[in-house]
């Protein structure tokens, strides 16, 4: 290591370390800080002085200790072996850390992101002499039973000719092919690195047209998110944000799931780790874990790595998207990421914006959600999508705070979680009057084909009834239910059925936890048929109470638990 590559610490203040003699270092370069070699990243340069955010606890580090430069940007390693892993915010596998260092995470530990000894069976799909372009699939590896990993021409090679390629068993660091390019021969290995702060390139962004089926009735029916779309779930604590995120990770029909636990509870990650290997993927019957990558920076892990964790996650997600998969990424919670930004910003003594958050908060959030999308991948005729679903934890449940507001500006779906619904144990506590989805139009063609036109008509009618109920409730509060007209009573009763027998869904019930689109359409139709029949009966002059208690009603509540 040449001498010029090492700086000296001049100041330590929490996760911020300042070092001198750092001439020639670049912004976002990764460095090793102090005698223990803690991982850090340069976030500011002033002549020879660098401000570094350190991804580990800095107690015990002091001025005079060295800072070693690596010359590399903060990157993730992409290749077979990502699936089923659990990583910390800077892609260190937590299971490896545990086996190396025990139950608590020590500092300065270094572990490779992918198992470098494991041999994967690589099957080439191109041959010598073929000309290839960036992103083109060179061969396949069966990474898990569910997912066949595609080894692609890395983005930095725009085109070339295959000089050699070989099928067989290789580790991720061994050469599987050689490509001749303008700049000479390039050796291709199954794994390559990509800097987390740069989006991976695609050929073209497309407009989303298919829904991400989540099996959650209130979402799929009323507020759907498209594959390649972005959604946000803001809600006060206890309103069930995490359960919703877990439900989506479990049941949505994406091929690959990236779950980022960003500044949340350690036990929640443990729950995922214990549950996912045992749950069956409804599509393939294999364990859910086989299509999942977990990123965990729990709230007691270093705050700077929290900032990196969302980028680590989304870069891995983009990598799978580039293979042509439908990928869904859940980030729980983006507020913790924003708070990490705020903490670093304060330590850098930057001019604060709203509520102490840095002025660039909005642009960072927007740039993150824009990495979602339905895309035409590089390479040949592949399409993939990346759906991003971010939880937001507004302080005091106040949606006017900066993180929520900036998020709403870029996401097209808003699932508003409501405290009162949660208190009444109405789960998922998605408030049907406040939430919205701007994808309903884009998805209509798909829905008409899958479940028929009547579904959308029922949906519109159901929504009308639910908002009418809110109006009528005011009246009931003043004059009582008995004072309502017959048809208003029918509206109230139908709304109640909609709420209790359709919107409410028990995540912990084996059957109710997931409903196919077809089942949702049937259930909705059952409720709406009740309403239509009730209207007819009222017109014929039948007694209101008999109308309300017609026999069809009892069947509706049983539908939830009917096996498909």
């Amino acid at each position: 290591m040449s001498k010029s590559k090492t700086g000296i610490i001049t100041k330590v203040s929490g996760p911020l370390v300042v070092a001198k003699n750092m001439e020639g270092a670049s912004i976002y370069e990764v460095v090793k800080v102090g005698d223990e070699g803690l991982a850090g990243e340069i976030i500011e340069m002033r002549e020879g002085e660098a401000s570094i955010q350190v991804y580990e606890e800095t107690a015990g580090v002091g001025p005079g200790e060295p800072v070693e430069r690596t010359g590399k940007q903060l990157s993730v390693t992409l290749g077979p072996g990502l699936l089923t892993s659990i990583y910390d915010g800077i892609q260190r596998p937590l299971d490896e850390i545990a086996s190396k260092a025990g139950d608590f995470i020590p500092r300065g530990i270094e572990v490779p992101a992918l198992d470098e000894d494991k041999k994967w069976k690589f099957e080439a799909s191109v041959s010598e002499g073929d000309s290839v372009v960036s992103g083109q699939v060179l061969g396949e590896v069966e990474e898990t039973e569910t997912i066949t990993h595609k080894v692609m021409v890395p983005p930095h090679i725009s085109e070339g000719t295959i000089v050699s390629i070989e099928s067989g068993n290789f580790t991720v660091t061994q050469e599987v092919a050689q490509i001749k390019t303008e700049n000479g021969k390039e050796s291709i290995k199954m794994a390559h690195k990509w800097p987390i702060r740069s989006p991976r390139p695609t050929k073209e962004k497309l407009l989303p047209s298919k829904p991400l089926i989540t099996g959650q009735r209130v979402i799929d029916t009323f507020f759907p998110v498209a594959k390649g779309g972005a959604a946000s779930v803001p809600g006060p604590f206890g309103s069930g944000k995490t359960v919703i995120q877990h439900q989506l990770a479990k049941w949505s029909d994406a091929d690959v799931i990236i779950f980022i636990g960003c500044g949340e509870r350690g036990n929640e990650m443990t729950e995922v780790l214990q549950e996912f290997p045992e749950l069956e993927d409804p599509k393939t019957g294999n364990p859910l874990m086989e299509r999942t990558v977990l990123i965990a920076n729990t709230s007691n892990m270093p705050v700077a790595a929290r900032e990196a964790s969302v980028y680590t996650g989304i870069t891995i997600a983009e990598y799978f998207r580039d293979m042509g998969f439908d990928v869904a990424l859940m980030a729980d919670s983006t507020s913790r990421w924003a708070e990490a930004l705020r903490e670093m910003s304060a330590r850098l003594e930057e001019m604060p914006g709203e509520e102490g958050y840095p002025a660039y908060l909005g642009s960072r959030i927007a740039a993150f959600y824009e990495r979602a999308g339905q895309v035409k991948c590089l390479g040949k005729n592949q399409e993939g999508s990346l759906t991003v679903i971010g939880a937001v934890s507004p302080p005091g449940g106040d949606l006017s705070e900066p993180v929520t507001q900036n998020t709403l500006r870029t996401t097209k779906v808003f699932w508003s979680l409501d405290d009162e619904l949660a208190n009444a144990r109405h789960f998922p506590a998605i408030d049907w009057l406040n939430s919205y989805s701007l994808y309903t139009e884009d998805l209509s063609e798909y829905l008409d084909e899958e479940v028929g036109k009547s579904f959308r008509e029922n949906r519109t009618e159901a929504m009308r009834i639910l908002s009418k109920e809110a109006e009528l409730e005011e009246i009931v509060r003043l004059v009582g239910f008995e004072a309502l007209s017959g048809s208003d009573k029918l509206v109230m009763e139908t709304a109640k059925l909609l709420r209790e027998d359709f919107l409410m869904q028990n995540a912990f019930d084996k059957i109710d936890t997931f409903s196919t689109l077809k089942k949702q359409a049937e259930m909705l139709d059952a409720v709406m048929s009740y309403y239509r029949k009730g209207e007819e009966m009222l017109e014929e002059g039948e007694n209101v109470n008999e109308v309300l208690e017609m026999e069809e009603k009892d069947l509706i509540s049983k539908l939830k638990f009917k096996e498909e």
């Binding site: 299971d95 608590f104 036990n267 443990t270 509520e355 004059v479 008995e482």
Partner: protein
């Protein structure tokens, strides 16, 4: 490895600046000796080239710039732990308060600890009976959970906490670690006496920082308590219940330090890192795979103006696995324990209940009780506007249920240790006042098994 410097550069409030320092590290402990030989402790807040900013744990009164000496101890804050700590009372600097000598150390541990690897965690799913119906029945506590009590000034949260500490039933060796921050002498004595009365003191470790003790020690005290708890739990295999009171005082102390450092304040003047800081305390609850022992945390906090959206309860709620809400209304109507079950929540409830853990009807019954009580409260509101006579018969039955719920299910004596079966049976008993068709949250076979069969 300690280094001594003579003379201080600045003293502002509880902050001390020392110049010309050669080798210093972040969070390093510093001992300042005053001219008359007194020793006071502090730690490094900011370490720069040649200078160190020190946060004193004790008062700076009487300290003088030129004559004082700063001794850098070359290590971060540690706690000496051993099994002999059981049954002992310490202050915020881990000095014994009970007049006995300091226990001989088995180990010296960094009070900040290291974050528990999520991969090594065991997901908590063992029912922990507290003998309090409002908790066991509806907001079930689970071994290894962190479940705070959200209370207000003048409410009986201490009583509830000690009742839990006394009654908590665990299978293995069970200990209590108690950390008091900035509470009054009387309150702290209440805990000590209660534990002593029931003989629980022998298996407890107490750390007390009363309202007149140094403010800064309030910041390190919970970390000491948890370090001791981790030692008992993960090295000695004990089930440990940690009670921390009052977290509001802890946060106030944090704000005081932050303001002294002139940091950019977040909401209501609390530092922007309050969430991270609280998490580093609460997240130390839990269990480890394939190891005996557990840490269950019950932090108590008094919500300023009973406001749940205040930053302290708000951020706490985002980290902990639920909350137990103490209600002023219930307290004023003479109900003990005055736990408002509707806004209370135990996120791990569903993991800890059901067949083989509590009883197969628990889940459905709890949901039904919640829903019915919520509906009852709604009807009550309606009744105050319209008058009770305007209510339908069904609504009236909800009103009746609501009263029974508060009188029979919620209320219990301070010394009553209710078994879970009894709690559930009371639940079924009071549901009888509701029309059968209203019991929508319970599956039919459970209704037959527990309601109908018992009738006959």
């Amino acid at each position: 490895m300690s280094v001594k410097y003579k003379g201080l550069k600045e003293i502002v409030g509880s902050l001390v600046l020392v110049d010309g320092v050669k080798k210093v590290s972040y969070e390093e402990l510093v001992k300042i000796k005053t001219a008359d030989g007194e020793e006071r402790m502090g730690r490094v807040l900011e370490a720069s080239e040649g200078r160190a900013l020190i946060q004193m744990f004790e008062e700076t009164r009487g300290m003088e710039l030129e004559e004082a000496e700063a001794v850098f101890l070359g290590e971060t804050m540690k706690l000496d732990v051993s099994m002999d700590m059981m049954g002992r009372v310490f202050d915020g600097a881990a000095e014994p308060l009970d007049g006995h000598p300091k226990p001989i150390a088995d180990k010296s541990l960094d009070i900040n600890g290291n974050p528990m690897n999520p991969f090594s965690r065991e997901f908590p799913d063992d029912f922990l009976q507290t003998g309090v119906s409002a908790i066991d029945g509806l907001n079930t506590l689970v071994r290894g959970q962190k479940l705070p009590i959200f209370s207000g000034a003048g409410l009986p949260h201490s009583k509830i906490a000690t009742q839990i500490a006394r009654q908590a039933k665990m299978e293995g060796d069970f200990s209590v670690v108690f950390g008091a921050m900035g509470i009054t002498f009387e309150e702290s004595q209440f805990f000590v006496n209660e534990l002593e009365k029931t003989g629980a003191l022998d298996r407890s470790i107490l750390f007390l920082n009363t309202a007149d003790d140094p403010v800064i020690e309030r910041v390190t005290l919970p970390r000491m308590a948890l370090t001791a708890a981790e030692y008992l739990a993960f090295e000695k295999g004990r089930d440990v219940l940690v009670i921390l009171t009052d977290m509001t005082n802890y946060c106030e102390a944090l704000r005081e330090i932050s303001a002294a450092r002139k940091e950019v304040p977040g909401r209501r003047g609390y530092p922007g890192y309050l969430y991270t800081d609280l998490a580093s305390i609460y997240e130390r609850a839990g269990m480890i795979k394939d190891k005996p022992g557990s840490i269950t945390q019950i932090p108590i906090l008094t919500m300023p103006e009973d406001d749940k959206t205040h930053p302290i309860p708000d951020l706490t709620g985002y980290i902990t696995e639920g909350q137990i809400m103490v209600s002023r209304n219930l307290h004023q109507s003479g109900i003990y324990p005055p736990i408002d079950v509707l806004p209370s929540l135990s996120r791990l409830r569903d993991e800890g209940i059901g067949e083989e853990k509590t009883r197969d009807d628990h889940d459905g019954l709890a949901n039904q009780l919640f829903a019915a009580y919520a509906k009852g409260q709604e009807v009550k509101e309606l009744a105050t506007i319209l008058g009770e006579s305007a209510l339908s018969d069904t609504d009236k039955s909800y009103l009746k249920f609501s009263d029974l719920f508060e009188e029979q299910f919620l209320s219990q004596d301070e010394t009553e240790n209710r078994e879970i079966e009894k709690t559930l049976d009371i639940g079924w008993e009071i549901l009888k006042v509701l029309p059968r068709k209203e019991l929508k949250r319970i599956k039919d076979d459970k209704i037959e098994k527990y309601l109908d069969e018992k009738e006959n």
